[in-house]
């Protein structure tokens, strides 16, 4: 298959792995931001192809994992209402809330539907005018244009039974939070190719400069990831700290203007709580005033929701790259995909899930 097979080619993968070995002289710790990259690394065993001097740590780029517990509890409260059809991307419905998950609420009779796109939720709203249709708008910059488009179209078409429960997060503030933490071990970043396809990579340049840390925009196939690692190690060994693009077949420095325009039209930047990390200033998106009528948090009464995280879960440390899933006492024991304590064990982009699926000891 074009654009897949050539990046999974054994010879080219081995060649780039060899090239990494040849340039690596010192120990380095690199973080891949995106959960999709984490899964690729673990599924293809890419970490095993790297010299022992290189440590890969997994970043917070799993949209399901960083959605705060409060948002999930709110989603559950909204979904449980009889007048609501609650629509969500698939992975979210299995993430544990304080008491239960959306799947459990569905079994209790709630009308919860898995959709592939927020536009599908908008269609459901059109077909069910007597119901309030709520879409759980989560994710990074990658899903933001689609979610924004749904709100934009709802406004344009006057669909007033549609709303978004927004829990959007942004990558660059998360990188800054990690780099400015006292516990930080990360010396170089692989930036998420899909996020940069939308946003470009200009906004990463001041971060690389300020923290003297190389950032390489990286794709998702085995060769892509190793190429990102190679460029990152090369910078580290040469004591450079620039933003480089190893995913040029998708990413341009200026990003996708149309997508950014629709994000700007509907959303504005705001502080946002990240599950496991806490509040990060200017790290999320909220609906602009013109779109308040589509804000589920303004439509439904969501007071009196108490949240509580399970104590055993160390997902906060896993999400910041401080601990590895194998270092968690509950991993594979009390915490499994069929009985998750934290979101990273559920999501198909979660680090714990990747380790459980492909790398159990």
């Amino acid at each position: 298959m074009k654009f897949v097979d050539e990046y999974r080619n054994k010879e080219s993968v081995q060649k780039i792995a060899q090239a990494i070995k040849e340039i690596t002289k010192h120990p380095w710790t690199i973080m891949e931001i995106c959960g999709g990259q984490t899964h690729s690394i673990i599924r293809f065993g890419l970490d095993e192809l790297l010299p022992k001097e290189i440590t890969l740590v997994h970043g917070p780029g799993c949209p399901v994992c960083v959605t705060p517990l409060e948002s999930i509890d709110r989603a559950i409260a909204i979904a449980a209402r009889e007048d609501v059809i609650f629509c969500s991307f698939g992975d979210m419905i299995r993430v544990p809330g304080s008491q239960k998950d959306l799947l459990g609420v569905k079994a209790e009779g709630a009308d919860i539907r898995i959709v592939y796109s927020p536009m599908d939720a908008l269609e459901i709203a059109k077909k069910n005018p007597s119901k309030k249709v709520v879409f759980f708008a989560i994710g990074f910059e990658t899903t933001a244009p689609g979610n924004a488009m749904a709100a934009y179209m709802a406004k344009k078409q006057g669909i007033d039974n549609f709303s978004l429960l927004v829990s959007h997060v942004l990558v660059p503030p998360a990188i800054e939070t990690i780099l400015s933490s006292k516990q930080n071990k990360v010396q170089g970043f692989l930036a998420a190719g899909h996020v940069c396809t939308i946003m470009g990579y200009e906004e990463y340049e001041p971060i690389a400069k300020k923290y003297k840390t190389p950032i390489v925009v990286t794709g998702f196939e085995p060769f892509d990831i190793l190429q990102g690692v190679h460029m990152c190690i090369k910078q580290l060994e040469e004591n450079r700290y620039e933003v480089e693009n190893s995913y040029a077949r998708c990413v341009h420095r200026e990003g996708n203007n149309k997508a950014m325009e629709i994000i700007k039209e509907v959303f504005e930047v705001s502080s946002r709580k990240w599950r496991g990390i806490g509040i990060i200033p200017q790290s999320g998106l909220i609906l602009r005033k013109d779109y308040f009528q589509f804000d589920a948090e303004r439509i439904f009464d969501l007071e009196n929701i108490k949240t509580c995280e399970p104590e055993e879960c160390i997902s906060a440390l896993v999400l910041q790259g401080i601990k590895n899933p194998h270092e968690c006492a509950a991993f594979g024991k009390q915490c499994r995909p069929d009985h998750p304590l934290g979101a990273p064990m559920v999501s198909s982009e979660g680090a714990c899930n990747a380790y459980y699926r492909y790398k159990r000891r």
């Binding site: 897949v4 994710g139 899909h194 198909s348 159990r360």
Partner: protein, 352 residues
């Protein structure tokens, strides 16, 4: 099979003007039930056993050993590219019997119909069942019909149970597999699951992906007749190839190594899987199976499979090794390995 014929069935004998849709009364046991049975089921499935009009079917068999199985079919939509719930209900149960090394003979069928189901749809499903049964060499010898209130079912649910005879002395089951056995896969995987997902979610592609739903009985009987040694067979249904391998490894206390590079996935199916972030190893099939045979027999088994349209894409995908903690390991394209385990639930498309 990819090149399925479109069949034209005779039109439904229950006059559309009278009962275009199934009513609760069709399940009441009264005249409407009788009319439904006579005009649709008895007329379509027509055979001596059914015509006994008894509480059950009485049949003579000439074997020491029989295999029995049952399965229920709930699929949405009931008609999909490459098949429908009727043909699926025959293929699934026939294939389960075939995997036991049995020659499938008789099936029973239980229908749960939702009030309001179009009579024409029921007619099409019944005809499709009969055609699939004829192709698989089985007869539908007994049945039951219930009608539930609208909203209490999804159009039509079907249960089929089957009986087959075992006419050889081989013990075909997971416990029979041995270290060194070759694992032969009968063809490309993941077509059924992706065909259903594409219809359900209105995903459109250049070519329609058709389900692989088919009866495997003919091919399996050919293998048995050829007297090759077969240790185990398993049809790949829900959970796909990966789940079948893990189940067998677990049941036999052996471990399995496979090579993902030789597992055939049609280009368009692979494309859809890649886009949605779905692993084809876990996607449902309805016309594929794996066969565990001693290495010395592998060549012959492969030749028999390849001579059949149901197995012309067959290949050796791996082998059985000594039992260890990790049950199934897959070698991938870049030469590294990964664990293959059961999924805790259905695969869901990725978010971004």
């Amino acid at each position: 099979m990819t090149n399925k014929k479109e069949y034209n069935f005779p039109s439904c004998p229950i006059p559309i003007s009278d009962y275009p849709r199934v009513l609760l009364a069709h399940g009441s046991g009264g005249t409407l039930t009788n009319q439904l049975i006579d005009k649709i089921f008895r007329s379509v499935f027509n055979n001596d056993y059914l015509n006994q009009s008894h509480d059950g079917a009485i049949a003579q068999i000439s074997a020491n050993k029989i295999a029995m199985t049952t399965d229920s079919y709930v699929i949405h939509p009931i008609f999909f590219p490459g098949g429908d719930i009727g043909s699926l209900a025959i293929h699934g149960t026939v294939n389960d019997l075939a995997m036991c090394g049995a020659r499938p003979l008789y099936l029973t069928v239980g229908f749960i119909l939702e009030e309001g189901l179009a009579m024409e749809d029921l007619w099409r499903v019944a005809n499709s069942m009969q055609r699939a049964a004829e192709e698989a060499g089985v007869q539908i010898v007994s049945g039951d019909t219930k009608v539930v209130d609208k909203g209490k079912a999804d159009g039509i649910f079907i249960n089929t149970s089957g009986v087959g005879v075992i006419e050889h002395d081989q013990s075909i089951c997971p416990q029979s597999i041995k270290e060194g056995d070759c694992i032969i896969l009968s063809g490309d995987i993941a077509r059924h699951g992706m065909a259903i997902m594409a219809v359900r979610e209105s995903l459109s592609f250049e070519n329609t992906i058709e389900s692989d739903s088919a009866s495997l009985s003919d091919l399996v009987l050919k293998l048995i007749k050829s007297k090759v040694t077969i240790h185990c067979m398993r049809d790949l249904t829900r959970g796909g190839l990966a789940t079948a391998l893990v189940e067998i490894a677990k049941a036999s206390s052996m471990a399995i190594e496979i090579d993902e590079n030789v597992i055939s996935v049609r280009e368009d199916v692979r494309g859809v899987c890649e886009i949605l972030g779905i692993d084809p190893l876990y996607v449902a099939n309805e016309g594929r199976f794996i066969c565990f045979v001693p290495e010395s027999e592998a060549k012959e088994v492969l030749a028999i499979m390849k001579a059949s349209p149901l197995g012309n894409d067959a290949s050796i995908i791996g082998h059985v090794v000594k039992g260890k903690k990790t049950l199934v390991i897959a070698k991938n394209q870049i030469g590294t390995t990964r664990i293959v385990d059961m999924l805790s639930s259905e695969q869901l498309p990725r978010i971004c």
